[in-house]
Structures are given as C-alpha cells and as structure tokens.
C-alpha cells in the first residue's frame, strides 16, 4: 500500500541497521514511549537485532494499562444497571478491575458493546433512545479528539442518553515523571508519533533541556522506528539534547491545530491517578464544565474516590522501564494473555503482551526440560 510498504522495505531496514551500528561508540539506553512502538520493535525483531548497541526500555504509553481499576469498576457498575449499554474499545474488555473484568461481568448480565470509534457510540445512542449509552473513553491525546468530537456531536444533537466515562491521559507528564526519577536510566526518548501528530512537539524542548536528553518524535513502521533510533543515537553521540522530528509525514511542530482546538473546548487538564504509576500531576483530561452533563460519573452518582488496589501485577516497574516483562516472577506462568494478572499482559499495546507474543520464552542457552 502506498506509503506503508515503503516504510517496511527490508533492504532499507538493513541499511539503517548498519548505519545505527556505525553511529554508536557505546551502548545507549532509549525508551520508546508508546506501546504501539513497543509491539513494532518486538514484532520486527528490532530490539534483538540491535541489542549490542542499544537497550530499549518500554515506556508507559499503554492507556489501557494505566486506566485505574476504580474506573473499570465504574464501567462494570454501569454495564450491570438495567437500561444501560456500556460501549468501549475491545482492548478494555479483559482488563481486570478490582475483582473482575468487563468480560467477566458480561457473564453476570453486563450489557457491553465493543466499538471501533466513540462516534459509533453516539450513533447507538440515537438508535436506542430508551437506553443510556455510556462510552468508556480511554486513550492518550491521539484518541481524545475522537471522544471530544463524540461529546460535541451529542451536545449538538442534544442527546439525553449519551455520556462518557473518561480516563483520558496525557503523555508528557508521564515522560517527565520517568525522566525525573532518581534511578532513571533513559538516555533518550523516542516520543510517540501519533500523540505528537495531535500535540506537536514544542512542549518537549523544555523536557529535553531540563533532563539533558534528546527526544526524537518517532513513527511506527520498521523504517520509522529505525530512523528514530538512528537520529537519537546520533544526537547522543554528539552530546546534543535537541528535539528532532523523525515522523515528518504526519507530525508538524505545532501538531494538529484543529484537533487541539476541539480538545480545548471539550476537556480541561487535571491531575490523574495512573494505574501502576500513582497520581500523575496534570496527567489526565476531564470534561470541561460546559460539557459536564455528559460525564457519566456525575450523571449517575458514581463515587469519585479512587481505591488503591493491591496489584500483584508489577505494571509500574514495567512501564517505567525498571524491569523487563520477563523479569516479573509471574510472567508466562501465573500471568498469561488468557489469564492476566494485570493490564500490560492483556492490552494489544502492553509490553508484557508484546514479550509473550514475540519473544522466545526459552533462552537459547538452556535446553528444554526432558
């Protein structure tokens, strides 16, 4: 396909791998922020191929993984109410809440429908006027415009039976939380290309300067990922703390101005608890007062208090790059995609799921048990 196949060209990829080897005089540690990038790196074997010159830590960019258990509990509570339909992305269905997932609640009668877009939920609300249709909205700045447009449509249509349960999160504060940690090992960031498509990357200059690390806006195809790594290594070798855009076909410095305007109309920035990482200052988006009547928590009298859930899942350590998924004692034994202890093993963007799918679980130097 035009402008996809070219960015998967094996010959060009091999050439870039050689350039990366030629550029590095030592082994550097980079963090790719987005879970989509994590999966791309593992699916195409880039992490293994470059293991000797670059260590790739996997960042917090999995919105499903950081959605608090309390919000999933709210979603379950609403889905179980008579006359309600809870809609959300397929990724959310198997993520455990405090004691069960949405899918498990379905067995108890929870009314769920998976949707591809929040706009589909608005259409459902129009088609089912006697049903309260709630869209469980998760995602970073990439996804938030779709929710904002859905809420704007509901406002324009004056839909009384549409609301959103929001858990939208912002990437930059999470990057800062990782960069400022005392034990931070990250030398440079590969920033999330589709988040930057919306937000732009002007805001990263401050981060790069303050924490003395280069930031390269990176896409998702193999060539994009390799170019991002190459640019970041080149900057590190030069001692530069620049911000560079390596995903130029989609990302402009100021981002998507129309999308940002829609976001600013519908949402305001707020502190937000992130599952596994704790409270992230200014880490989330909540509905602006003008649109608060579409907030499911307000409308249906749900408790806003968040309960700390004792997670056996070590998602916080995984998402901040402190441990690799395979260093978790439960990985592949008690925790698998079929029976997950936590979200990173469930989500199609979770680092644990990527390792489970694409890594060789048996180290090459060990012989299988006889």
């Amino acid at each position: 396909m035009k402008l996809i196949d070219e960015f998967r060209d094996p010959a060009l990829a091999r050439q870039l791998v050689e350039s990366i080897r030629g550029a590095a005089t030592r082994r550097w540690t980079l963090m790719e922020v987005c879970g989509g990038q994590t999966h791309g790196l593992l699916r195409h074997g880039i992490d293994e191929e470059l293991r000797d010159v670059v260590e790739l830590l996997h960042g917090p960019g999995c919105p499903v993984c950081v959605t608090p258990a309390t919000v999933i509990d709210h979603a379950i509570e609403l889905a179980l109410r008579p006359g309600f339909l809870l809609t959300t992305f397929g990724d959310m269905l198997r993520v455990p809440g405090s004691d069960r997932s949405l899918m498990q609640a379905q067995a108890e009668g929870a009314n769920l429908q998976m949707v591809y877009s929040p706009l589909d939920a608005v259409k459902l609300a129009q088609e089912l006027p006697s049903t309260q249709v709630v869209f469980f909205a998760v995602g970073f700045e990439t996804t938030a415009p779709a929710t904002a447009i859905a809420v704007s449509q509901a406002q324009a249509l004056d839909l009384p039976n549409f609301s959103v349960l929001t858990a939208h999160v912002r990437v930059e504060p999470a990057m800062e939380a990782i960069a400022q940690a005392e034990d931070c090992r990250v030398n440079g960031f590969l920033a999330a290309g589709h988040v930057c498509t919306i937000t732009g990357y002007d805001q990263y200059y401050r981060l790069a300067q303050r924490y003395r690390m280069p930031i390269v806006v990176t896409g998702f195809e193999p060539i994009d990922l390799l170019v991002g790594i190459l640019r970041c290594l080149q900057l590190l070798e030069q001692g530069s703390t620049e911000v560079v855009n390596a995903y130029t076909r989609s990302v402009r410095p100021a981002g998507n101005v129309a999308a940002k305007e829609i976001l600013q109309q519908v949402f305001v920035i707020a502190d937000q608890p992130w599952r596994g990482l704790g409270e992230v200052p200014l880490g989330g988006l909540i509905l602006a007062p003008k649109f608060r009547r579409f907030d499911a928590v307000d409308r249906f009298g749900l408790e806003r208090t968040s309960i700390a859930v004792e997670d056996e899942c070590q998602s916080g350590a995984v998402m901040s790059g402190r441990i690799r998924p395979t260093q978790c004692p439960h990985f592949g034994s008690r925790c698998t995609p079929q029976s997950p202890l936590g979200a990173p093993m469930v989500s199609t963007e979770g680092a644990c799921s990527a390792y489970y799918r694409y890594s060789n679980l048996v180290p090459l130097n060990t012989s299988p048990a006889s």
């Binding site: 050439q15 970073f140 963007e349």
Partner: protein, 87 residues
C-alpha cells in the same frame, strides 16, 4: 491503541463540524470517517485515521523525500543515483 492507518479521501459527505464526514479508502475497503480535525483535506489526499477520526493530513511529498534521502545518504552505494534503488 494509538495505531492509526493511512487511507485516501474518496469523497466528502458532509462539511458541518463536528459531523464532517468523508468516505476514505483503505486498500480497497471504504469507511466513513470524521474529518473534523483535517477540514482542509481534499479528494485523493491521504489522511491518517485513528478510531474513526482522521488525525492528520499525510504529507506524501515529505514522505517520499525522506525515503529518497535515506536511500541515498545512508547507503553510499546509492549516492548520486536519483532512480529507484530497487530497480
């Protein structure tokens, strides 16, 4: 979750925000997408679509320019050869 795919605009269906809609072709599969964030898109333009919403107007010229640069600069063998290195 942040994955998004490119497709080209086949025809505009409505232009009034926040309902701006166009038919977009993804490898022969056509889907109605919301174009509120790329109101400047024209028929045949490539847009990058995520969760039913076009989040970006893809700059095809910039994409081709990057590929050309990579093929010529990163590999000295191709330096100075403007043609397709696959040929």
């Amino acid at each position: 979750m942040c994955l998004a795919i490119p497709g080209h605009v086949v025809r505009w269906l409505r232009r009034d925000p926040p309902f701006c809609e166009a038919e977009v072709d993804f490898l022969g599969v056509r889907r109605v997408c919301n174009l509120s964030c790329v109101p400047e898109a024209q028929v045949a333009d490539y847009v990058i679509v995520h969760a039913g919403v076009a989040i970006s107007l893809m700059d095809a010229a910039v994409a081709h320019q990057l590929l050309e640069e990579l093929r010529s600069i990163e590999n000295p063998v191709n330096r100075g050869e403007p043609g397709d290195p696959h040929e």
